[in-house]
Subunit: 199 residues, 2 copies
Amino acid sequence: MMPTKPTRETRTKARKLSILSAALDCFCEKGVEATAVADIQRRAQCSVGSLYHHFGSKEGVAEELFIVTIQKLNSGMLRKLKRSKHAEESVKAVVFFYSDWSTRNPKLARYLHSRDIDFSPEAKTRLRLLRREYIASVFTGFAGFVERGDMAVLPADAYVPLISGPIQEYTRLWLAGQAGSPSQVKGLFAEAAWNAVKG
Amino acid sequence: MMPTKPTRETRTKARKLSILSAALDCFCEKGVEATAVADIQRRAQCSVGSLYHHFGSKEGVAEELFIVTIQKLNSGMLRKLKRSKHAEESVKAVVFFYSDWSTRNPKLARYLHSRDIDFSPEAKTRLRLLRREYIASVFTGFAGFVERGDMAVLPADAYVPLISGPIQEYTRLWLAGQAGSPSQVKGLFAEAAWNAVKG
DNA sequence: TCCTAAACTAGAATAACTTTCTAGTAAAAA
DNA sequence: TTTTTACTAGAAAGTTATTCTAGTTTAGGA
């Protein structure tokens, strides 16, 4: 059958994705600040005008890439969490998912951990919101376990840092080439996470 | 008595410090990438030439500020750690020190947690080295406790993330205005850190 | 089917910034 | 004293981000 001509919407989405993907490659290779708009534009095979039409600025590209990635990561974690029936299983699932996702998507993980992104106030607000939502969802997911006494009663803001803090920090070390793969310690860290919040 | 005329060395050091301090203020207010060399230069009341003479580039200013700060923080932590006689005391001291230092130096803490710094390869190497030294020192400090069975036997790279990860992550939330002061949870987090590594 | 508005693309022109360069001053060393 | 080195200054040059103008393509309404 004839390949139907792609609709405009389809092509637009594809172009945006190709710009984001080109940007990710550039950012990983040279760092965000060191990447010129021209680098992204060349690699994505689009014009400056096109890039600015879709993203407004280089910052805009970096921000959207970051936000989309965080959204995917968060929703993946929450999906795992919701599937778990028991407190211990839930907590450990979060640690495992973070570790697995990072090793499966090293470029994205590197980007999320990179330090040279300059967010606009709007993007910061947006990220704050995403994080708040995530923390709230986790808290909600845990509420039942806490009531039942399976998990400790802690300040709402404390659960995520206690559970994810160590594996995140370890992953950062791994990305910097200063530690082995997270998969080697994820069991240990899952155990620690559970110890930190169990009832 | 007469105030003696300051020596050149003294004035140079003072000027460098004033540039670093002006830079910190600018970075906190507008972000690293968004601050222009002219901003720093104006606030420090020096010329472009002077700034470039001392630091080579805007990046150079950001790097030196970061490295000097990390060094101070690390040495403070190690000092606390060395003073502690017992395993539990040591571990908790690290958490307390990190929390206290961050609340006492919010601008510097904010800068250390900021994401928009573009380090040169040399600076990255230097930071890697500092971190390696820190992790090694911590490990050495703990060696005795581990032998005695007071602390668990873990991969060398695991201690720091397990102990400091949660309080760092919580501090990040606090700086983003998404959680209360670290001082409110430091006891809780110190306890969790100890649970994560105790024998 | 044709027309119009909106989305999109292109690349030259512009503007903003970083970095370099030249010239000169002040302090320390010889 | 003289010479060398560290330092400062600000104009000039070079780079890069962003804007602008012009034009093309597509979706949707008449």
